[in-house]
């Protein structure tokens, strides 16, 4: 079965990629498997200057999920370009660079630097990190701000821009339409949901940042619902993510309306999860009677449309 996927600016061998922040800059996972196997690599968020991030504890397990509040720790865009990205050039796998910042100017600067770097094939605009005081989510919860930022980054970059949407909003469709209108080439969704866990002995929040982003299988139904809603109103492709642990989950994301699928938290439990899913995917699709990826994408709502048009005639 042909697993290749064409997305704006990207030709993927298969629809599977690790999600930003769950894969570092690839080096550690390359000790477990050949990164050539991946559809794409999405690297950890880059900011203009180096960021240390939040104090520990930064992670806490929850039922079928986890909270994290890393706080966008990264060495800064210049070091990422000089010390991290060259390592990924040896792989025949497109790189999507995740861009974060506190101000529109910072996003623009980071995006333009990454755009001039050979080996970066697309940008993922992180407007949805819930774990930093400035930037990130403030852009992801205000459709006007998100549109302004998308427009500015599009102007500063010649690479396709995928905007990563936050689920922490009451109207995800409005956000999606707003960034599409502003020129986004694609969407990544969903980022983590804001959550909290308390320490029973001390009585206070377990994470030093108090709140963290909930990820893992616990959030999958939220992701499926949001992709189902958004894919029906936008004309740009969606990279779906949120609690993917197996090939059947990938199928569900495709049916909801995603064109490609990112695997996040599951990488922590099983570092080989991405190649394992890629290997299982053709068999899983055919087990459910599908012969191609295309026929799956958005089938959850296209199928219903087809049926209702049949019943009308």
């Amino acid at each position: 079965m042909d697993l290749s996927v064409k997305l704006p600016g990207l030709t993927l061998k298969n629809p599977i990629m690790p999600a930003s922040g769950c894969f570092g800059f690839g080096r550690e996972f390359s000790e477990f498997y050949d990164l050539d196997k991946l559809g794409a690599i999405v690297i950890k968020a880059a900011t203009k200057e180096r960021r240390y991030g939040n104090q520990t504890p930064r992670v806490a397990e929850t039922s079928s999920g986890m909270l994290n509040a890393i706080g966008l720790q990264n060495p800064g865009v210049d070091k990422i370009i000089s010390q991290e990205l060259p390592f990924l050039e040896r792989f025949d796998t497109p790189v999507i660079a995740n861009v974060a910042g506190s101000t529109v100017e910072e996003y623009i600067e980071v995006a333009s630097k990454l755009s001039e770097t050979p080996g970066v094939h697309a940008l993922e605009l992180n407007i949805s990190c819930p774990n930093v005081k400035e930037g990130g989510i403030q852009f992801g919860t205000d459709p006007e701000l998100a549109a302004t930022l998308t427009r500015s980054v599009k102007r500063a970059s010649n690479l396709p821009v995928y905007v990563k949407l936050s689920p922490n909003t009451s109207d995800i469709k409005r956000m999606a339409l707003s960034v599409e209108e502003a020129g986004a080439d694609g969407l990544s969704m969903i980022n983590t949901l804001v959550g909290m866990q308390l320490n029973l002995q001390k009585g206070d929040p377990l994470l030093s940042n108090k709140t963290g982003g909930l990820s893992g299988p616990a959030i999958k139904p939220v992701a499926i619902r949001m992709i189902y809603e958004v894919s029906q109103v936008v004309n740009i492709p969606i990279i779906g993510m949120g609690g993917v642990t197996c090939a059947e989950d990938v199928l569900e994301f495709l049916l909801a309306g995603a064109s490609a699928v990112a695997v996040g938290t599951a990488n922590f439990r099983n570092p080989l999860i991405c190649p394992e899913i890629i290997e299982e995917l053709p068999q899983t699709l055919s087990n459910y009677g599908y012969n191609s990826l295309e026929e799956c994408v958005g089938r959850s709502w296209k199928h219903v449309e087809e049926q209702s048009s049949v019943s009308r005639t």
Binding site: C22, E28, Y33, V59, A60, N267
Partner: protein, 255 residues
């Protein structure tokens, strides 16, 4: 290429209050030669527990590795249900252990607190085998929490302290330092951060500490278990406990 692998449970028994000793066997035991490294252990089969738990190696004998863990939450409680013959998915050994190979004919102090005691046992055995004299100070909350007293006794002088005085010396591990035969050339410590802080403040001789931190991936990719570099001019400014540690020279990171 690295790969997580199943190990067989030989024994999983309670040895002190909320404290379990787990013995595992598998081909990867032959790689577990460095005291201070940890196993990143998967909890259960499904996705209820999405994160592995880092458990430091307590001992290695032939084809058997021993780890000791304390029940601190749902994950470690679930681990107590593993029975002889069950398998456990293990990633490891991971991390950098205690540097010990160059030490000979020295007097070395080991200071452990609670669940920080286990990695010092494998280290003590290695150090004694190399002809060093080892003195150990172990701190526990209370008498029912004490474990491995006999095991350490066979390896040199041993002092035990408890917070409530229900066993051994009442007080902190540092309270018994003056009773230790001098001189001491080097020390290794592992335990809760406040204890490590007190120990490193107290001692001026060279030392190494093993740090504990909540981990995500355990391989250096997620940046969950990060600590600050002590040198403010350090190029990176941080160290990852899972990948750069868990053992560090005491002056390398901030406590």
């Amino acid at each position: 290429m690295l790969k997580p692998q199943n190990m067989q449970v030989l024994q999983n028994q309670k040895i002190a209050q909320d404290t379990f000793e787990l013995k595992l066997t598998g081909p990867q035991v032959q790689d577990m030669t460095e005291p201070g490294q940890f196993l990143h252990v998967m909890i259960g089969e499904g996705w209820e527990h999405v994160l592995r738990r880092p458990l430091s190696i307590t001992d290695v004998e032939h084809h058997v590795v021993t780890v000791i863990y304390k029940i601190v939450g749902k994950g470690t409680r679930a681990l107590t249900e593993k029975k002889q013959g069950d398998s456990i998915d293990v990633l490891g050994p991971r991390g950098n252990g205690f540097p010990y190979q160059t030490n000979e004919d020295q007097h070395i102090l080991l200071v452990g607190g609670g669940v920080g005691v286990p990695p010092l046992f494998y280290l003590a055995k290695k150090l004694v085998a190399q002809g060093n004299k080892v003195t150990t100070v172990l701190g526990f909350q209370t008498s029912s929490a004490v474990f491995y007293e006999k095991e350490f006794q066979g390896l040199g002088d041993l002092f035990i302290t408890t917070d409530d005085g229900s066993y051994g010396h009442k007080g902190l591990v540092t309270d018994v330092f003056e009773r230790i035969e001098k001189p001491v050339d080097l020390y290794y410590t592992c335990g809760p951060k406040p204890m490590i802080k007190a120990v490193t403040n107290h001692l001026t001789i060279p030392g190494f500490m093993s740090l504990e931190e909540r981990m995500g991936c355990g391989i250096g990719a997620c940046f969950a278990c990060v600590c600050e570099a002590a040198d403010t001019k350090d190029e990176k400014g941080y160290r990852k406990v899972c990948q750069d540690g868990p053992v560090f020279p005491v002056e390398e990171v901030m406590l």
